[in-house]
């Protein structure tokens, strides 16, 4: 059981991610943009952050950069939810400090496999 922060402006994607992870026994907090995610991350420590790239208010890349400036989030796995065509975004995300990525579209099985991979 891990504490996971799921960040996506799309309620359906976020819902799918949260539902799947909760089904696997994880504790999931949802945030709909980067700023809200930072607020949530400041309020509690998460073992894993899953973040969409394109979001209003604050995008995923900026969010990762900011998160990595917090002492609590050095080395905490952060996965970007991105699309295969977004090669640049993957690299931008990495440069910002993301751990890796999960390529959309993904199904619940792939999500769980990837999450288990980083949570070890």
């Amino acid at each position: 059981m891990a504490k996971i922060l799921a960040v996506d402006d799309s309620a359906s994607m976020r819902g799918m991610v949260a539902f799947t992870l909760r089904g696997a026994g994880h504790e999931v907090t949802e945030a709909e943009d980067g700023q809200k995610a930072l607020d949530a991350a400041g309020a509690g420590k998460f073992d894993l952050v899953l973040a969409d790239v394109n979001m209003p208010v604050m995008d995923g890349i900026t969010m990762v950069k900011q998160l990595r400036t917090k002492a609590d989030y050095q080395g905490v796995p952060i996965l970007m939810l991105t699309t295969e065509s977004d090669t640049n975004k993957k690299m931008e995300g990495k440069a910002a400090g993301a751990t890796g990525w999960l390529v959309k579209p993904f199904d619940p099985d792939k999500l769980l496999a990837t999450v288990n991979r980083v949570l070890g």
């Binding site: 002492a71 609590d72 050095q74 080395g75 905490v76 070890g120």
Partner: protein
Amino acid sequence: MGGRRATKQGGMVTVSLPADCRIGAQVAVHAELVAAVQASAVALDGTRVERVDTAALQQLWLFARALEKHGGALTWKGASQALEEAAATLGLTTILQLPAQQPA
């Protein structure tokens, strides 16, 4: 924080590693190890370690190296299976002078 885990007994400094001994805990562990690095004998207690990562193992190695440079002696008061496995994976078992892995 340091005072809680590092104890000194007859010239031997003991540093206990936390259960979650991953990157997030390493700044605190570093502080304790810095305090112990000049000692003549240091015992590491790794029995409680449940989660451990490269950051921790790297730090232990660099600590062992620094201690040796000052002529200090390193012993282990025990290491959990998780610690032993991770050290073995990174090829650090020997360097860390960990007790040989017990067959499960």
